[in-house]
Symmetry: C2
Subunit: 199 residues, 2 copies
């Protein structure tokens, strides 16, 4: 399959790319250092990405920012970052992509552990993750031409502990191979409308 | 207690108002026909509402629009309606309200069934509902001065069947008294960080 991977440079994207490359051709997209440059929060940029990409059978997103701050510090402006970037950005990939990808193709988005097992400073990511879970469950029953949609929700990665470990005190870190398999299950398997928890 | 109820004119708000009025003083706020006029999506309007309201012990929101359309019809513009109104609007009540409401006070938001039991045309509401669930779980661990936060997630109301029944084919309608009790539990009880499912 041709897999279009948005966000391949992050910790999760790096793992997904390795796992998916075993049996697929992976084309990368992102804000920098990618085969195709794209800003997910801009529908025109997303549309241009699909036109450049050619035939795509599966879209995998491991991209999308949220803003980490205490609840007291958050304003509408800071809180909208996660809603615009992590939620709307990933949903833009679906809204624009449905007409571009193959019959029976799939979308795999990425959320994370923080809506079900929160840590301080993470209300924006928690809201974004919850939104993506609700979205894929509802979108699954409306996908055209046999297309599927799922979201991978990994815990804090072992690979990310050096940077994020202090934020996730006491959380069980998730090995890379397990995260990679979640993306493989979504792309090469047949599930639809699932929140794939990797813990 | 003094309860500030935003969205008292809707089907859910009408029920919440009756149930909460049994043992509390309910002040209403909303875009029209309310004690205090407010636009939740405008932080300045929300701040003005709290200044007008005086002492508030509990904030209950039964307000927040989402846009119903097929996944194919949605654009970033239409999808942002639910993220700006139902998600950000209700979260604005919390961000602005924490410093205004009493020690040990509470926030009760409203989501709905569509993120866990979707129907066609409802991806925007499903995403909004999921976001609110994730938000309250994470916000609960950061609330100041013993304040609490929960979200009520009711199924389609018996009272709403004449208008919405066609959208919710086969869904069990929820009696009004059960919905009312969910708001009473959140306001007069002690739960925190819960998605209170009313089915």
């Amino acid at each position: 399959m041709n897999v279009l991977l948005i966000g391949a440079n992050g910790d999760i994207g790096t793992i997904a790319k390795v796992a998916l490359s075993e049996r697929n051709t992976v084309i990368t997209a992102g804000r920098s250092k990618a085969d195709i440059l794209v800003d997910m929060a801009d529908p025109k940029s997303v549309e241009a990405m699909y036109k450049t990409a050619g035939r795509v059978d599966a879209v995998v997103s491991t991209a999308g920012d949220a803003h980490f701050a205490s609840l007291q510090e958050h304003t509408q402006e800071t809180f909208m970052i996660g809603l615009r970037q992590k939620v709307m950005g990933q949903i833009n990939l679906v809204l624009s992509g449905m007409e571009h990808i193959s019959d029976g193709g799939s979308f795999t988005l990425t959320s994370g552990v923080l809506d079900r097992d929160p840590v301080p400073m993470a209300t924006n990511a928690a809201a974004a993750n919850g939104a993506l879970g609700g979205f894929v469950r509802a979108a699954a029953i409306e996908m055209p031409r046999g297309q599927r949609i799922n979201v991978v929700s990994p815990g804090v990665l072992e690979a990310s502990l050096p940077r994020y470990g202090d934020w996730f005190r006491g959380h069980d870190p998730v090995p890379s191979d397990r995260v990679g398999r979640a993306y493989v299950k979504c792309v090469e398997g047949s599930i639809n409308g699932e929140v794939v928890i990797v813990s």
